[in-house]
């Protein structure tokens, strides 16, 4: 049973608030990414790859039967810093209902963490497209 969203966020904000410089942030993200299990090779295929130019992000979604339904996501990236950011996104969005996903202001959270620039479509790192695809999947699932 996933923890309440607010607990996860509070912990995250606390952790990032304590960091002094970009090096600490990146090292934390790298650690986070390393802890996220690798996606099996069979799933790192073209249909699961989201649009991004500089690095690859793969996303797989599964719907858990429930009322309302719950969306579980699995994701991976070949770039470690991006993978850490992917891990944060999964922490926030996976195991949630479509409504929770659609009402979640990811931009605000990333700004709060000082990571907003990584979500920009201009970054071309796949994160923006990943969030877009998650939201589209959630929209498809909601009534």
């Amino acid at each position: 049973m996933p923890r309440a969203l607010s607990d996860t966020l509070e912990e995250l904000f606390e952790t990032f608030d304590q960091m002094h410089d970009w090096e600490e942030r990146y090292e934390y993200l790298i650690d986070l990414g390393d802890k996220l299990p690798d996606m099996p090779a069979e799933e790192k295929v073209e249909k699961n790859r989201v649009q991004g130019c500089q690095s690859n992000v793969w996303l797989v979604a599964r719907t858990r039967e429930a009322t309302p339904p719950v969306l579980d996501f699995e994701a991976d990236s070949d770039a470690q810093i991006v993978k850490g950011l992917v891990a944060i996104l999964l922490q926030m969005l996976s195991g949630r209902t479509p409504e929770e996903i659609l009402s979640f202001d990811i931009g605000h959270v990333f700004t709060r963490l000082g990571l907003k620039q990584h979500l920009s479509p201009l970054r071309s790192n796949g994160l923006h497209s990943m969030v877009k695809r998650i939201k589209m999947l959630a929209a498809g699932q909601s009534a």
């Binding site: 970009w22 090096e23 990146y26 090292e27 790298i30 130019c53 500089q54 690095s55 690859n56 070949d78 770039a79 470690q80 810093i81 991006v82 790192n125």
Partner: protein, 416 residues
């Protein structure tokens, strides 16, 4: 006379900017992507807009005369810079990509048919691949590729099978934008002509850094970009031999490129106007003229030597870093581009994007990705690579800063 980058840098205020909250100085090593513009070039643009700007060719008023003189003056500067015979052979375009597309459409559609072959190399940038793929799809022609050795030099052992009487065109880069490889054009161009093929050179990475003589090359078409040679965005050049350009139908249709328009037909204008439809990029062309003046004072040979020295230094300094692998040929066989991969703990590759992000925090600007050359990366077994590229304003200190930055990358990704 050896060039003095410290003195030249005074012409480029952007090189003094500080980055991020920490205010780290910029180390700009992404010149293969685009180059900075010196004050004389920027001033020439401002001067044009502030004192002599109007539409060209059409007007009879004084401002229009001034603008036309400046625009056509820039065309003559380009002609002299690349050693072309006539300004009729100098077509202004948006860049290298548009120039190649022009040839693929205008020359390609008229001269290539089903079963013909177009010969490329595995080094090519997408801009010198995709237009030919499109041409092949339209005409039923076939694409072939000259392979490469592992060090990024061309493998010419099968050239006789690849370059045949069926080959209509050899489209080849002068310098690889990924690996810096200098291709053996002096050897390949006569061979292509001997089988009746034309030759198009993607000279985007060579014209800004070396002496160019299109007649010595005897190339049929040469394409290059202004923004890679200090001129700012929006201008490029297609050089084509007069006889070819004259025989080719126009590319884009519209104003300026016509002689006469009736309801159902038009007659095209003469060269070079025939291939310059619509109002041109007047001020960017003037900027290109100013860039050529600036480069002329320094001397292309001095620039080439300077970059060669930096490349040798980079190979030395980067070669000492454990966990760094340089791709491409040795310094004598390449231009001022150094491409590499980094490996962290357990020999696991550090993704170029990760490396570039960390380098950026230290002020070092390089490029990470496939550099618009996916077939080349596939051949090298890489999904992406990191590239540092030099120009006249880079210094040995900056090569050191790159090395320091790379050590930092390895440190960040190797803990534990």
């Amino acid at each position: 006379m050896p060039l003095d980058p410290a003195a030249l840098r005074r012409d480029f205020p952007i090189l003094d900017i500080r980055l991020h909250e920490a205010g780290v100085p910029l180390v700009y090593l992404d010149n293969a992507a685009t180059t900075q513009s010196p004050k004389p070039v920027v001033d020439a643009m401002v001067k044009a807009y502030e004192g002599s700007y109007a539409n060209v060719h059409r007007g009879i008023h004084w401002l229009s005369d001034q603008a036309t003189i400046a625009y056509e003056g820039a065309r003559e500067k380009v002609r002299a810079f690349i050693g072309a015979e006539s300004t009729d052979e100098i077509i202004f375009t948006r860049g290298t990509t548009e120039a190649i597309n022009l040839v693929a459409r205008s020359w390609g559609d008229a001269n290539v048919k089903a079963g013909d072959e177009i010969l490329l190399t595995l080094l090519e940038h997408h801009s010198n691949i995709v237009p030919w793929q499109q041409l092949a799809a339209r005409t039923g022609a076939l694409l072939k590729y000259i392979p490469i050795h592992d060090d990024g030099t061309l493998d010419l052992s099968t050239l006789d099978q690849l370059l045949t009487a069926r080959t209509k065109l050899l489209a080849i880069t002068a310098v690889s934008n990924v690996l810096g490889t200098i291709t053996p054009l002096a050897e390949l161009i006569p061979k292509a002509h001997a089988v009746g093929a034309k030759v198009l050179i993607d000279a985007a990475q060579s014209v800004p850094h070396a002496v160019t003589d299109v007649r010595k090359w005897d190339a049929d078409f040469v394409a290059f970009s202004g923004h890679k040679m200090l001129a700012g965005s929006g201008i490029g050049v297609l050089y084509g031999k007069r006889a070819l350009l004259e025989a080719m139908p126009p590319f884009q249709g519209g104003g300026s490129m016509i002689h006469r328009v009736e309801l159902e037909r038009f007659t095209p204008a003469e060269l070079p106007a025939k291939f310059e439809a619509g109002t041109p990029a007047i001020v960017p062309a003037i900027a290109l003229g100013a860039a050529i003046d600036y480069l002329g004072v320094i001397g292309m040979e001095a620039i080439g030597e300077h970059e060669h020295r930096l490349t040798r230094e980079a190979h030395q300094v980067l070669g000492r870093i454990a966990g760094l692998k340089i791709h491409g040929p040795s310094p004598e066989k390449k231009a001022g581009i150094v491409n590499f991969s980094l490996y962290g703990a357990n020999g696991r590759e550090i993704h170029p994007q990760d490396a570039a992000q960390v380098l950026d925090r230290g002020g070092v600007a390089v490029r990470a990705g496939h550099h618009c050359a996916m077939p080349l990366h596939e051949r090298l077994g890489l999904s992406a690579s990191t590239r540092a590229s030099f120009y006249l304003y880079n210094t040995s200190e900056e090569v050191e800063r790159l090395a320091v930055g790379l050590e930092k990358v390895l440190h960040v990704f190797r803990r534990g």
